[in-house]
Symmetry: C2
Subunit: 574 residues, 2 copies
Amino acid sequence: MTRIWNDPADFADEMTDGFAAANGRHVQRVTGGVVRATESPRGQVAVVVGGGSGHYPAFGGLVGQGLAHGAAMGNLFASPSAQQIQAVAKAADNGGGVLFAYGNYAGDVLNFDAAQEHLRAEGVPCATVAVTDDVSSAALEERHKRRGIAGDLAVFRIAAAAAEAGHDLDGVERLARLANERTRSFGVAFSGCTLPGADEPLFSVPEGRMAIGLGIHGEPGIGETDVPTADGLAELLVAKLLEEVPDGTAAAGARVVPILNGLGSLKYEELFVVYRRVAQLLEAAGIVIVDPHVGEYCTSFDMAGTSLTLFWLDQELEALWETPVDAPAYRRGSVNPAQLKAAKGNAAADADAVPEADEASREAAGVVRAALGVIAATIDANVDELGRIDAVAGDGDHGIGMQRGAKAALTAGTAVDAGAGTTLARAAAAWADKAGGTSGALWGVILSSVANRLGDNGKPTLADLTAGVADGAKGVMDYGKAEVGDKTLVDALVPFAEALQRNADAGADLPTAWKAAAEDAARAAKATADLLPRMGRARPHAEKSLGTPDPGAHSLALIATAIGELLEGRNDHA
Amino acid sequence: MTRIWNDPADFADEMTDGFAAANGRHVQRVTGGVVRATESPRGQVAVVVGGGSGHYPAFGGLVGQGLAHGAAMGNLFASPSAQQIQAVAKAADNGGGVLFAYGNYAGDVLNFDAAQEHLRAEGVPCATVAVTDDVSSAALEERHKRRGIAGDLAVFRIAAAAAEAGHDLDGVERLARLANERTRSFGVAFSGCTLPGADEPLFSVPEGRMAIGLGIHGEPGIGETDVPTADGLAELLVAKLLEEVPDGTAAAGARVVPILNGLGSLKYEELFVVYRRVAQLLEAAGIVIVDPHVGEYCTSFDMAGTSLTLFWLDQELEALWETPVDAPAYRRGSVNPAQLKAAKGNAAADADAVPEADEASREAAGVVRAALGVIAATIDANVDELGRIDAVAGDGDHGIGMQRGAKAALTAGTAVDAGAGTTLARAAAAWADKAGGTSGALWGVILSSVANRLGDNGKPTLADLTAGVADGAKGVMDYGKAEVGDKTLVDALVPFAEALQRNADAGADLPTAWKAAAEDAARAAKATADLLPRMGRARPHAEKSLGTPDPGAHSLALIATAIGELLEGRNDHA
């Protein structure tokens, strides 16, 4: 939904003013829209685009050297008037005539045609190419009825590149028409946008469902389905577009520019996940991918949706496609052309050799692996709860971060045939690497501190373990710069380490000392719930933070308790 | 909310793969993130940025010539691990040492510091600048505790430009630190994002409210307020940032790069409306605006919010700022530097001279103005209903489009002192221009057809009016390529024109003939509700389209009826 406006009636004008103010290097505000702020060669065909506003970068964001010469910017989702179009075209004209290019909508056709007639009557040569890339909006036999969506970009760029290359109006029109013939798009949507000041979205799609072929203003689609996976969506989009290869030729061997366009609030990260599969599918079909585009090129305010465009190049079009562009929202070509590197990557160095270990330590490594299994299982069983607790005061990903780390630690610890110290060290490194974030780094420190004391020779003693845990607590405090009372992992780790030491000094055996220490840790973790939230981590609604423990401290207590049970069980059977 | 993923646990990896696949011209995928795909000069300091994923263009989108040499890309909102950072830094290193730059968050500091220690131990010189631009996250005396948000861009760019300019590691660090000292940001939010697979958003802000100073992961803000106007928001952001001018110097005369950053679903159009006022306020404070940025530079998935960054240049920084950049999501510098045009604009030509008119026609112009007043009032009174009807089968803006047009027509008709024909012609032109879209163009045709028949001499006759309306109906059909039965304005306009003719032919006077015709138009408009919606205009849920008339036909009937009442009243008093 739109959040911010002054008087909704002034929105489009104020938007255009603000756009021009922000982009004075590229565009000049004129009656009806914007034109290039930079000089174009005398006699160059002027490419004038336009349409309703609300689709940025379309249309004003596409004005600049190498792209459009002017854009008529209508009201929100409403065609510009013939007067606006005429005024922009006159300001953009370089004496070489005007090529109008815009998406094929009834209101735009009406107004652009009227402007064209007026200009011709005044002696300005004009031609028009209405973009018809949306395959879902009419059958192939009725291509002229199809709507124009993100494929606009391909047609606009070719028209502009042709003008730049010195073609006359006929030549520019021919090439723009060819580009339109070879551009196909297909889109889906999950929700519509709400215009400034409106009470309701333009359309809605039921929760969990996805509209197929829906237009960028909510025009009718061809169906609805459950929301697929990202890969499923890629398959749907590619399959639909491969049904209609231009000229009926085969896809294999064709050179294609894919444009995966976000409509506003389906964001870049999601588009990249979808594109990953799109690229695989196109390559599997034998298509050569040229200059892929993944981003926002033609939006519909914050509508959630995406479309895939395939622009089927031929030799002439591909040469034009390389024309540099410098527009507010679209730039192509590098100022400092740089040499491409040879692909080399930095695959992790081969694992270091496994140090020698004696039989006793190898046996102890079995206990380490069992402990890693218990940790992974404990986190798995509590992942949702940990996420919930973290969501109160943090970003809610503590559970999945811990899960990622514990799983990686178990895998790494199981994969190596080594002594107890090396086994745990490998697990520690894997945890830190795969979990990332703060908790990943801190658990890496704890486990590697213990690993250093266990060593690879001899059966580890209770004293080794106690010293390792103490080292870990100290390491975490140094590393994380936190102290007891800061409501972090440290609040449970320090009491745990101290209790383990105290009970060991008092002569308790490992299971007994550990169990007592785990109980202290659990008590201390619980107490973090009674502390005020730390500045810098708490959420704006502070009262929500009271009553839930710190998730890091809670995780430590859960793990300590579970390992205590493992040790007790082992002792029973020893 | 996030809509599309495969396994949420794989999201970050698949996103990075897709990002690298889409941007092979700029980046190379390596363990831990991406590095430039292009060669950098041997010995150049490598700028390595990074952080959690979910903030695109930060961080991978900022890798390329003139910007970062590499980006460590962590899991969603989780710091990359020390291993990831180390691996990326090694792949990015050109033998000139590594400058780490990233937003100041606990997890990032932990992991980047650990990576730095390891690299130094291996003999790679390293330095670090953590970005601390968010003024809402700590007091000025505790600047080192502040978070890094969209100001990242300023610091990253200066660091990279300094490296490009040949500074050594100390020099790059000094300049990056200077940039950070002179960068301040302040943000607001309306809603939080929902991570892939999560059930709930990371945070929420009550409907109609705006959180002030909220961090990009939902960290605590400094307050909450009702959603302001766009201008009010601009005033809030600028006022807050002008409280803290670096060095305590005056703002007046300073040269500043403003960065108005969208967090994901507060879209470009809204940002431009806000920027319009930001620019006014900065200029009013005597600040010289340099290279304004309005767009998405550091997002938080589809979080709705924005931040304003002011980057206070000095001479050294401004020179570096002009360094060209060619990264996937950020480009600066033009390949074809073009001459800026002199500002000239295309202000609408001075109004043509008003044609001569006789007294009778000037008197009739008074009736035209009264009719324009009635039209504007009628549309005002029905604007919401018209919007609602249009929302069923169209995009819901018919009401506001008609309102814009009718208001402009009244203003233009009142501003001119002319005969009836010219008065109505001016009104027709203003309607078409200000309303735009299909209905604006068609009402322009109707009114100008009538105007042509009214002329500027003599009292217009019923025959003139009847002929004008008939011309209008024909013009609309030609122009809009619609026929009776297509469920458009034509469905009411044609019966209206025919009935007017029929009743006039039968000897009725103007008020009687008009009233009868208006009744026919109203009946015909109502009947459009019983027609099936036209393909190409209907909404996906077709059943909703039944039972509501076409908004264009309905508008015409409303206007015809209201003018009928005006004429009748005039007659009563005649």
